[in-house]
C-alpha cells in the first residue's frame, strides 16, 4: 500500500517491523513502539503515552518535510 500511495503523494510509514517495511519498499520510515500498540505504550500513564505518540507523529511529519533520495529510516 505504501508504495502505491508514494506514486501520488509523499507518505511516511510508521511501523514496528522496520526490516519488512524496507523490503516492501517504503521510502520514509519511522520505527514504532510495538506490534499491538505501534503509537502507544499501555505500561505508561495516559499522559506519558500521549507524549510518546506526539513524539512519533512529530517525527512522521518531519519525515514528510525531508527530501530523501533513497529509503530512509528516521530515528531520533
Amino acid at each position: 500500500m505504501v508504495k502505491e500511495i508514494e506514486r501520488k503523494l509523499p507518505v511516511v510509514h510508521v511501523c514496528t517491523i522496520v526490516p519488512i517495511s524496507l523490503t516492501v519498499g517504503a521510502n520514509r520510515i519511522v520505527p514504532a513502539i510495538a506490534i499491538p500498540h505501534p503509537l502507544g505504550d499501555p505500561t505508561k500513564t495516559p499522559e506519558e503515552e500521549k507524549a510518546i505518540r506526539r513524539h512519533l507523529v512529530e517525527k512522521a511529519l518531519k519525515a514528510l518535510q525531508t527530501a530523501v533520495t533513497e529509503q530512509t529510516v528516521f530515528t531520533d
Binding site: 508504495k3 502505491e4 503523494l9 510509514h13 517491523i17 499491538p36 505501534p38 505518540r53 511529519l61 514528510l64
Partner: protein, 348 residues
C-alpha cells in the same frame, strides 16, 4: 547414524496460545512438538529431531537480534547437524522469525538450514538469499504436502547431494547463478528462444534479471502549515463492531471512515478488526494505532492546516500483494483528488 536436527516453531504451533501469547520468549523442548511430527515421519530413520525451540512471533519480531541470539544458544547445546524452521505458510512475523533463525544458524553454526513459506510471506524477500525456503501453500492446510518436501530437501543438503533448479526441488528462487555446460552453442540457444518468443511459445531464460520494484520518493512537503494530512492504516482500525466486516485476515477490502468532529478514538467508538495481533490495546484505545487524538491537537495548534476528514483502513494480515496494491492505488487516487498533501500510514 541419524542426523541430529533442531526444529523451530512459534507459540501457536507449540500449543501455547494465539495472539494473546505471541509475546512469550524462547524455550526449548526435547524431541518433537506439533508440526515436527510430520517432519519426523518424513525423516524416517535418516534424521532425528532432537529438540524443538519455541518462540512467540511478536517477541521475535520485536527483538530480532536478541531473540536470535537467545535461540541460537539453545540450539547450540544440541549440537545439531541441520536446522529446520516452520513451515510458516503466509504468517508474516512467523516467516520473519523462521528466516531470521535460518540466517543466524547458517552463519554461526555453518550447518544446512531449511524453512518453508508461501511466496508472498515477507520472510521470503528478507531471507531467500540466506536460506533455502521451500514453497508452501498459504495456510496450514498445505502442511502435509510441505513437510515431506522440506524434510527430504534438508536430507539432501546434509548428504551433500547436488541441488537442482528451484522448479525441480520445490524451493523459492534465491537469485543464485550457476554455470552449466550445454552441447548447443549459446548463439543457437538464443535464436531458439527468440523464435519461441515470436511464436508465443513458452521458453525459459538462462539469465534472469533481478526485479527491482521500487517507487522513487516524492518530494517533501514544503509548506506544512498549509498542508492537509491524511491517516491510513493496515492495523484494522474501524468503528466499534466492525460494521463493514473487514476480514480479520486475508482482507478483501479497505474501508473509508469519516472522522469529522472526532477528536479522540475511544473504546466505545472504535476498535480493531485485525486478527494478526493481540487486539487488547487497540480495542482499549485505537489512537495507539491511528493517532487521531494527537493529530487533532496539532491541527488546533496550527502545525499543519487540516487533518483530512476521512481515514482509510484495512487489515494487513496475510493480505495478498495484489489486493494490497489495489487498495493502495485506490486510496492514493482518492486522497490526491481530495487535495491531500501527505499521508501517515501506520502498520502494526
Amino acid at each position: 547414524m541419524a542426523y541430529r536436527i533442531v526444529h523451530y516453531i512459534n507459540q501457536f504451533y507449540a500449543g501455547i496460545g494465539g495472539e494473546e501469547k505471541a509475546d512469550v520468549g524462547p524455550e526449548v523442548r526435547e524431541g518433537v512438538v506439533g508440526p515436527g511430527a510430520a517432519l519426523k515421519a518424513a525423516f524416517g530413520a535418516d534424521a532425528e529431531i532432537v529438540a524443538t525451540v519455541v518462540c512467540g512471533d511478536t517477541y521475535f519480531a520485536s527483538n530480532m537480534d536478541k531473540a536470535g541470539a537467545e535461540v541460537l544458544e539453545m540450539i547450540k547445546k544440541y549440537k545439531p547437524d541441520g536446522f529446520i524452521a516452520g513451515p510458516a505458510f503466509n504468517a508474516g512475523r512467523y516467516g520473519t522469525a523462521c528466516g531470521g533463525m535460518c540466517e543466524v544458524v547458517s552463519k554461526q553454526l555453518g550447518i544446512p538450514v531449511v524453512s518453508g513459506m508461501y511466496p508472498e510471506n515477507p520472510g521470503v524477500d528478507l531471507y531467500k538469499k540466506s536460506a533455502w525456503i521451500i514453497e508452501t501453500g498459504d495456510s496450514a492446510a498445505s502442511m502435509r504436502k510441505a513437510a515431506p518436501v522440506m524434510a527430504k530437501f534438508l536430507l539432501k543438503l546434509l548428504r551433500g547431494e547436488e541441488i537442482g533448479s528451484p522448479a525441480d526441488e520445490g524451493y523459492i528462487e534465491r537469485g543464485l547463478r550457476k554455470n552449466v555446460f550445454y552441447d548447443k552453442l549459446a548463439s543457437d540457444r538464443c535464436v531458439d528462444m527468440f523464435v519461441a518468443k515470436l511464436k508465443g511459445v513458452p521458453f525459459e531464460t538462462e539469465y534472469k534479471m533481478p526485479v527491482f520494484d521500487r517507487v522513487p520518493p516524492q518530494p517533501p512537503i514544503k509548506d506544512m502549515k498549509n498542508a492537509v494530512i491524511a491517516l491510513v492504516t493496515s492495523g484494522g482500525i474501524c468503528p466499534k463492531g466492525n460494521p463493514d466486516h473487514i476480514e480479520s485476515s486475508s482482507a478483501s477490502k479497505y474501508c473509508e471512515y469519516d472522522i469529522t468532529g472526532v477528536n479522540d478514538l475511544t473504546s466505545v467508538t472504535f476498535c480493531t478488526a485485525h486478527g494478526g495481533y493481540d487486539a487488547t490495546y487497540a480495542d482499549a484505545d485505537a489512537d495507539r494505532v491511528l493517532p487521531v487524538d494527537v493529530m487533532r491537537d496539532m491541527e488546533k495548534e496550527g502545525v499543519f492546516k487540516k487533518l483530512y476528514n476521512k481515514f482509510y483502513a484495512t487489515v494487513g494480515n496475510g493480505t495478498s500483494v495484489a489486493n494490497a496494491r489495489r487498495f493502495g492505488a485506490e486510496i492514493a487516487a482518492k486522497l490526491a483528488d481530495a487535495g491531500v498533501n501527505g499521508v501517515i500510514l501506520t502498520s502494526t
